[in-house]
Amino acid sequence: MRDAFDLVSRHRVAAVVLVLIAFPWVMPYEALAINILIFGLFAVGFNLLFGYTGMLSFGHAAFLGSGSYLAGIAIVHGGWPWYAAIAAGTLGAAVIGLLMGALAIRARGIYFSMVTLALAQCVYYLFYQADSWTGGENGLRGVRVNAIKVFGVELDFVHPMTKYYIVLAFVALALWFVSRVLASPFGAVIETVRENDRRAAACGYDVARTRLVVFVLSAAICGLAGTLRALHLSVVPIESLHYLTSGHAVMMCLLGGMGTFFGPFVGAAVFLYLEDVVTTWTKHWMLVVGVVFIVFVLFFPRGIWGSILHWARRREA
């Protein structure tokens, strides 16, 4: 049991990807599975900042949304090919992350959270008002990617299964990247800063720079999730930038398990699946979501995956 466990943690990206390859076959429809991939990546990006670095941001919707919008604008107004649009969205979100981060890092604790909220709302209003580019409240429509040509092979992006595996390819790449970062010396510095930033500074680490770098990486990953969302839905809704979307990232991380690698994915899957299923039973799904959330905060603060890991580790000891 211990060996199997070790093997999986050392090859965690491969393990996750294997699970995700089989995933759409157990979901009722592919569009939901793709949403889970996208929001799972969003939650993983958010978790990099929240779970691993200990910084609670209420403004991460700004990165998901700007990634979506910039990719969409590249396709709709610029006629760019899909891969250039994805790059544009991811880089653009990273730049916005750099600007927001540089301003927000100066604040500490709850003030940091409030600054991110305020700046993200400013981003929301800016995109809303620029309606000749973004469509304003109607959203950006026409993000059509029908065929993806890769190594001479043409793939039909409209076909749901094909779409899923193409999105999975990007998500897998991003997860691999996050895993490498976390396993690197830099990853250790991140967790040091979370545990005791004064001590980290005393040891000679540049705490502010560390935080800013993580902020930008987190923004880039959420931006990538955003670009994939734009391609998936063919539309960028204005709510992508709203703070309620930021709130979803927080909920998914908590449900799944903050500070664990796979936790946010689990949280996203549970959250979206529950929302989908509960909506068919009752229109009071918000009540169910709220109660489940409260129960988790009170009794399972480690989240689903975090609790599973904790239980598995205790079995070993």
């Binding site: 709220g290 489940v292 603060p301």
Partner: protein, 294 residues
């Protein structure tokens, strides 16, 4: 824009003060809870909404506005007591994030519970007969009820100030904010103090709900934008500072009102820009203390 006269500017400013009055009350509640308990109450907007609905209910039952005005903070405060004791207390000491997350989930539950009890359409509530209509205040016609709102807020703020500055319990509150350890050592049950403060903050939120109800639509979603606006005000004023809540509340109300006159599309954004500005220049807020829960 040729028709901007001094009268219009003054009238607009007074409208801003009336708007700010509600912000002041909400920020006081948030600030009290944060300053004393270190809890960021994400359910504050939801309790505001619950207070408005309680107002609709009691006013509908009794036909008496003043009676309802007293009953609402009492009932909502009792709910606050229950919430603190059952839901929030287990989370003290676990870090600032957990009570925040809990209240976030609680807001979902409250909104949906109201939808189930009262329906989704919304229940309008008009001002009592005494306060209907508008008066000519020299610079223009202004709704009587909003003037009452400004007055009522001033009275409530004054009463709170007296309570905190002049009573023994207020002394305990001030001491507890500075140093909860010492207060405990002195034999005072700090957890009971926290319980009452939380309930008081929630009660004020409920009171602001019924006060605001005649000026806007009473719907289950009415607390959502209000929550973010209250955070803006509390942060601008300084979390944990009551003077800050008052000044910032009025400031935000007036900024919103004046921006609405000159550039209405940017009215909502202007308060966030204000918050970002204050946080960048003076991160602890106008009246906040550096290092307090920072």
């Amino acid at each position: 824009m040729g028709e901007i006269t001094l009268n219009l500017l003054l009238l607009q400013a007074i409208a801003g003060v009336a708007l700010g009055a509600i912000f002041v009350l909400l920020a006081i509640g948030l600030s009290l809870i944060f300053g004393m308990l270190g809890v960021v109450n994400f359910a504050h907007g939801a309790f505001f909404m619950v207070g408005a609905y309680a107002g609709v209910y009691f006013y509908g039952l009794s036909g008496n506005f003043w009676f309802s005005l007293v009953l609402v903070p009492l009932t909502v405060g009792v709910v606050g007591l229950a919430v603190e004791r059952v839901l929030v207390r287990p989370l003290y000491g676990r870090g600032i994030d957990y009570p925040l997350l809990l209240t976030f989930g609680l807001s979902y539950v409250l909104v949906e519970a109201i939808r189930i009890l009262f329906g989704v359409e919304g229940n309008p509530m008009g001002p009592p007969a005494l306060l209907r209509g508008a008066v000519d205040i020299g610079v223009g016609h202004f709704p009587t009820y909003r003037l009452f709102l400004i007055g009522a807020t001033a009275v409530i703020v004054a009463a709170l100030w007296l309570f905190i500055e002049k009573t023994r319990f207020g002394l305990i509150i001030r001491a507890g904010a500075q140093d909860p350890e010492i207060v405990r050592i002195l034999g005072i049950d700090i957890s009971r103090v926290w319980l009452l403060i939380f309930a008081l903050g929630i009660a004020i939120a409920g009171l602001s709900g019924i006060l605001a109800a005649p000026t806007r639509a009473v719907t289950p979603e009415m607390g959502i934008p209000v929550l973010v606006e209250s955070f803006v005000v509390t942060v601008v004023g300084g979390m944990g500072s009551l003077a800050g809540a008052v000044v910032a509340g009025l400031l935000v109300g007036i900024v919103y009102s004046m921006t609405s006159l000159f550039a209405p599309e940017f009215a909502e954004m202007s308060i966030f820009a204000l918050m970002a500005l204050v946080l960048l220049l003076r991160p602890q807020g106008l009246f906040g203390r550096t290092g307090l829960f920072g």
